[in-house]
Symmetry: C2
DNA sequence: CTTTATTTCGAGAACGTTACCGGTAACGTT
DNA sequence: AACGTTACCGGTAACGTTCTCGAAATAAAG
């Protein structure tokens, strides 16, 4: 903040009128003479006057700032979401203040506190993998600050939420495999307490059930840290008899590891085993064979979440609806 | 901003002391009695008092906010940089307000204006592909707001800059190819007015010259929109006689397209043609064969740039140095 | 017991703006 | 001539802090 800033006072002094009049002229109120108003505007232009946003914030009690918490900004999906958010925010003249939680609860909480302390008017949060506690968020809401959760939500906390329909995405992916004639479809999932794991797993189970395929517990393997444990998982899966003819992976990076392993073992994809991932990460278009995957509309999630939040801020009502965006199955060579 | 906020006034009233004393207690000044100070702190804790950041900003003339402009937030490199920035910022208790230029000059300018109007204390900018005009930035600096440019810099504008040594990166990549025995090394470059193109091209030329290899203009092909024109470029290159034995690409995505084309034509990589990219995009580890590439330390660029900016803000001196971070050649199968 | 130093505190201005309340012309109406 | 409208404008209090200055209370020194 510069100290040489031109203020409303300077304009008033130079024009020999009161600061109230200048203020009125600037935010074109009704009770002001056209000529004086024009004089003020002209001088303001000449002196390059810019209203002091901080001072305005103080009296109007609004900062036009929105806090966004992202688990990890590298990650194609979240950066897409962030892009959607900033686009909508700037359309409505809001600013976004942005923090990373780096997937830890501690950083998440400290970020939230910082954002609240900077008087954000609303919060957009996707919780870290560690988070399950509601009470921190309850505190924020008690202060009257609206929260919209996106993607990684906390079920116990009531607020507006924007998520993608992972169940349907997984369901359609597995249905696609079944239509291709697969009968023994394995699933590599994540930790059972994560909503991503649960939703995608349920979609998998639902599709099997609806198509009268038996559910074989041996074909469901947990990869605790996702791609880091995917290799172990695929090894385990490929050792099961009778052999599987498809693997549905919780995300693309795991699927890529699976593809690599299968190739190293001389197992042909998609002829011997079909593989499907989740996310539509850029890699999936580049691997060999290219990977069939479930596209999540990250940009749209961001746009919608920000739109809802701004609406809640401006209308001061909090409907607590949950919006579920649809995924899209992107069929590539790994399942053809 | 909530209206039910506990203020310093409330504390004063409840304790029957003046607001000045409360203020002193809160920012532990020297001239205050230990007991009263403790009483204030205790009550503040009980009532959950949080200082009003806006009010503090107004009188202290500092907002603790830094504006960051990114050409495009999706893009692994820039999101890495952003991660580095936010990490450093939060370490020094600064906040980052973030805008996208989406590679257009218009959005870049409007973003800058918005950020300045919100009283950011400094600006971190990577210019869009369209930008070449200095005067907008001159205006900002005249207001006393420090600017640090990172990655995509404007040479004509004097400020601190953080870039990666693309020349050296390209030079080493080409040297690596030469060491592998390559003699006819082609280069797919970008538009000639972009600094990325120029720097990498110069590195390529430098390495050839230093190793006494002739420069063949037929082997340098411009792909105007990078990867979108890479296919045409590689076709042109492969039609040149005598045949090339290596292709150095301006970025990884172009290189991946090159790899695909060569594979489709039955040309073996690295046996017939070696390929090297630039950026160390995540894809490069997943393609087949995996891609040798030049790693740019995005996270470090962000950290360093933010560190310099904060230093300039706090010490109010603007040394206008240029920092050049080193790249790292990541050797994978496409050049082995 | 006065004088001086030290500690502790309060009053009030300031930061730049908005918003409310009232005042003064000028004009028209009765 | 007295009154009511209207149009325009100024004074001033807020918003929640920090900061300077001086005053009061206490302690130390003579």
């Amino acid at each position: 903040m510069r100290s040489d800033q031109v203020t409303i006072k300077d304009l008033a002094r130079l024009l020999n009128i009161s600061i109230s009049t200048v203020s009125r002229a600037l935010r074109n109120a009704s009770d002001i003479n056209r000529e004086t108003k024009e004089a003020v505007l002209k001088l303001a232009e000449e002196l390059n006057y810019e209203p002091n946003f901080i001072a305005q914030s103080l009296v109007k009690k609004q900062t036009k700032m929105i806090g966004v918490i992202v688990p990890a900004i590298h990650s194609n999906y979240f950066s897409q979401a962030l892009a959607g958010m900033t686009d909508v925010a700037s359309e409505f003249n809001y600013h976004v203040m942005f923090c990373q939680s780096n997937e830890t609860l501690a950083q998440e909480i400290s970020s939230i506190k910082k954002l609240v302390a900077s008087n954000v008017e609303g919060l957009l949060v996707s919780v870290s993998k560690e988070s399950s506690d509601i009470c921190e968020f309850e505190k924020i809401r008690q202060k009257g600050i609206p929260i919209v959760m996106y993607d990684r939500i906390l079920n116990g906390f009531s607020c507006s939420k924007v998520i993608v329909d992972e169940y349907e995405g997984a369901y359609n992916a597995v249905k696609h495999l079944i239509r291709k004639g697969c009968k023994r479809i394995a699933h590599i999932t994540g930790p059972t307490d994560l909503s991503v794991s649960v939703n995608r797993m349920n979609g998998y189970l639902g599709a099997l059930k609806d198509h009268n395929l038996p559910i074989d517990p041996d074909l469901i393997v947990i990869a605790k840290a996702f791609e880091e444990n995917a290799l172990m998982a695929v090894k385990k899966i490929m050792s099961v008899k009778p052999a599987v003819d498809a693997i549905f992976c919780i995300n693309d990076l795991s699927a890529v590891i699976v593809l690599k392993y299968l190739k190293s073992k001389g197992i042909k994809v998609p002829e011997d085993v079909r593989v499907v991932g989740f996310n539509d990460d850029p890699v999936s278009g580049y691997v060999e064979p290219s990977l069939t995957t479930v596209m999540q509309p990250g940009y749209e999630v961001g746009k919608l979440a920000m739109g809802i939040l701004i609406d809640e801020i401006q209308n001061k009502n909090f409907p607590c609806q949950t919006f579920r965006l649809r995924t899209k199955l992107v069929i590539r060579n790994s399942s053809k």
